[in-house]
Subunit: 203 residues, 2 copies
């Protein structure tokens, strides 16, 4: 791999917002064809620039993937934080978080699908920035569940497991959700919240 040495080589692209445009086009191609099914050449062609121009911004395809995921997870966290009303009770905050997550998923569907299948096997080293962005987001919900448990406001078993369970429901949507289908992502998240909050036990 000599790609890394080429980071600062290649000619700058003559398009507007080249970095963002490359990332958006790459995400679309990865979502459609899978990470391995789309080459840097395909990305360059979709943007309408040369492969050398892509190299000017990103040394490898893997770096492009990592950037898409990091941007996505940071954006998700920011979107959710903005919609959380810390003065409302814990149940309401959980509902706000789940609905905001689903809204962001719906408006960034392509990137979430990319996130799902750029996972290149157990032996691949996952980019540190990606892990951090993921942890930062997960912490939001885990803290909420920990606080809710400590205050006795909600009946939380293991806050870490509850957090995993809730995020799993939302994350797996990237695998089966069809935009424009029977229910919006927000409606699905609403059903999930109902399930998580009230439970199935007869009442």
């Amino acid at each position: 791999m000599t790609a890394k040495k080429r980071t600062t080589l290649g000619r700058p692209a003559t398009i507007a917002a080249p970095r963002e445009t490359i990332l958006a086009n790459a995400a679309k191609l990865f979502a459609e064809r899978g990470f391995e099914g789309a080459s840097l050449q395909d990305v360059a062609a979709a943007v309408g620039i040369s492969k050398a121009a892509v190299y000017h911004y990103f040394p490898t395809k893997q770096v492009i993937y990592d950037e898409i995921v990091i941007d996505l997870l940071k954006g998700l966290r920011q979107h959710v934080v903005e919609r959380l009303d810390k003065s409302s009770d814990f149940g309401d905050q959980l509902r706000q978080l789940m609905l905001a997550h689903a809204e962001f998923f719906e408006s960034h569907y392509t990137e979430f699908v990319t996130l799902l299948h750029g996972f290149g096997g157990l032996t691949r080293n996952i980019d540190r920035g990606q892990v951090n962005a993921r942890d930062e987001y997960e912490k939001l919900l885990r803290q909420l569940m920990t606080d809710a448990k400590e205050s006795g406001a909600l009946t939380v078993g293991d806050p870490a497991s509850v957090t995993r369970g809730i995020l799993s429901m939302l994350n797996w949507m990237a695998r089966w959700y069809t935009p424009g289908g029977r229910m919006s992502a927000r409606q699905i998240a609403e059903e999930y919240f109902e399930l998580i909050y009230n439970g199935l036990r007869p009442r």
Copy 2:
């Protein structure tokens, strides 16, 4: 693609249970390196047979992947059905299903990881057999939730959404679970059942 024509070509392998051995080795390689990261040549080398011998059993790598997934989903369904006691109440049956699913996940971890990342993009046609095996499994739980709702024994919103939500929790484990970690898959499923059944609402 001329690979399909080669189905009946290639020499039979001289090992025991060749079909099963090829599938098991392929699943391990796919899990470690990703679907695209492992070639048919790698699979042949891992089994210790020629690539031609692999072709004798499977025309393409995609067919191997599809067979792994179909076998896995059929095995999962069978394992769960055997552990369901239809005479117990709906809550207990849900618990039985979730724990049995987790047990099977734990003992077939490699194949579940393969299932997770052989997804080759939105534009790939998913094998019909795979879709059917998936639907058959999902039906088990959806029927349970539908019956529980109709009888009034459990407080189920939309049975399809509840089913999706529960399976999402279990499915996403393939993405983050580490065998031999803090909790077994069964313990995690127990926590998830607790959450789904009782809910977070103060009681």
